[in-house]
């Protein structure tokens, strides 16, 4: 189950909006980073269960940060949360291995849905690991 959440977005307002949309069913540990580079550092430091990733950011954007996260952990669950919802952008982030894309401003309902989806994925991963051992 999701415990640790990392939010990578350059906008403090966007981070606040997303945090407010995370379901209150349990207490999550929420970490924040304000660009892709900081996001990668935070990711290494806290190993989040899921990462919400913005695309348009200074220093290092989401398109460049996602492959780095997946290099660190090939099973990293990345949910893109962006205002850039052009079909080409969406196709691109899926090809980089994002689980799904949330269009800004994200509604509580859709955040809940993607978190359910992520929980399913985490469960599968755990079962795969257990059967290997």
């Amino acid at each position: 189950m999701i415990q640790k959440i990392l939010i990578v977005d350059d906008s403090p307002v966007a981070r606040k909006m997303l945090k407010a949309s995370i379901p209150k069913d349990k207490e999550y540990e929420i970490y924040e980073a304000c660009n892709g580079k900081e996001g990668i550092e935070k990711f290494k430091e806290v190993s989040p269960d899921i990462t919400f990733m913005d695309l348009t950011m200074p220093v290092l954007d989401g398109y460049k940060a996602i492959p780095e996260l997946r290099k660190i952990n090939p099973h990293a669950i990345v949910i893109v949360c962006s205002a850039d919802v052009q079909p080409k952008s969406i196709a691109e982030v899926f090809s980089l291995g994002a689980l799904t894309v949330l269009k800004k401003p994200a509604k509580t309902e859709s955040v809940q849905n993607v978190m359910d989806q992520a929980n399913g994925k985490l469960k599968n991963l755990r079962e795969q690991n257990e059967s290997k051992q």
């Binding site: 350059d10 906008s11 403090p12 307002v13 966007a14 606040k16 909006m17 407010a20 949309s21 695309l55 348009t56 950011m57 200074p58 962006s82 205002a83 850039d84 919802v85 052009q86 079909p87 080409k88 952008s89 800004k104 401003p105």
Partner: protein, 223 residues
């Protein structure tokens, strides 16, 4: 010393008109709005727009011409599509890119434009296509800002302003002198042809009071 005084005054004025928090909210709203606008554009034209982080600036109407020049960087001549909008939220949407780049823009979308446009002579075809793209982007962007801030605006028809012409002068003159406007700017790139341009939403001074309240209200729902 004198300069320092001026910039201090300017800073005080800026803080008074819009707090740092309100600027952050406006920046994210512009980000969402223009992102949505490019997706709307992609629905009608096969075009991909690379986005950047929006910049929010408070500028004096007297500095407007210089602001546009500064934003254009090395380009000497601007092609501007201007569209006025009215409501609680009052101002202008500007779609700006270097004059001459319109030709490249037309090349990108040649396949998707309608037949009757194709029968027009080249120069007017270019203008019509740019007007249409500008109209879509400004309308979708301003429309989304209004939606997020819980209001609605009406638009006047788009106008094309080419270069430092009399149209440009009368556009600048249409602003009440010595007023402060909020400029929300997003730089973008039409990737296929490497064309840089930008969109600016200028909020008239008379709307700033309304805008401040609307921004605070917007954020309240996320507390």
């Amino acid at each position: 010393m004198e300069n320092l005084k001026i910039s201090e005054n300017k800073m005080n004025l800026n803080n008074e008109l819009l707090s740092e928090d309100q600027k952050d909210i406006l920046q994210e709203i512009m980000n969402i709005a223009f992102g949505n606008a490019t997706a709307d554009l992609a629905d009608v034209i096969d075009i991909y727009v690379e986005l950047s982080v929006p910049a929010i600036e408070l500028i004096n109407t007297g500095e407007l011409s210089g602001y546009i020049d500064r934003s254009l960087n090395s380009y000497t001549n601007a092609f501007i599509i201007s569209q006025k909008f009215l409501g609680d939220f009052n101002g202008h949407g500007l779609f700006v890119f270097p004059n001459g780049a319109g030709h490249d823009l037309v090349a990108i979308i040649e396949d998707t434009v309608t037949k009757d446009l194709n029968s027009s002579p080249a120069a007017s075809l270019e203008k019509e296509i740019i007007m249409e793209i500008g109209n879509i982007l400004i309308g979708a962007c301003v429309g989304k800002i209004s939606e997020l801030l819980n209001t609605a605006v009406i638009y006047s028809p788009p106008k094309a302003i080419i270069g430092k012409s009399t149209e440009f002068d009368s556009f600048i003159d249409s602003f009440v002198p010595l007023q402060t406007v909020i400029a929300m700017k997003t730089v973008f790139k039409f990737l296929q042809k490497d064309i840089n341009g930008f969109i600016v939403v200028l909020t008239d001074q008379e709307s700033i009071k309304w805008l401040k309240t609307a921004l605070d209200k917007f954020m309240e729902s996320y507390q």
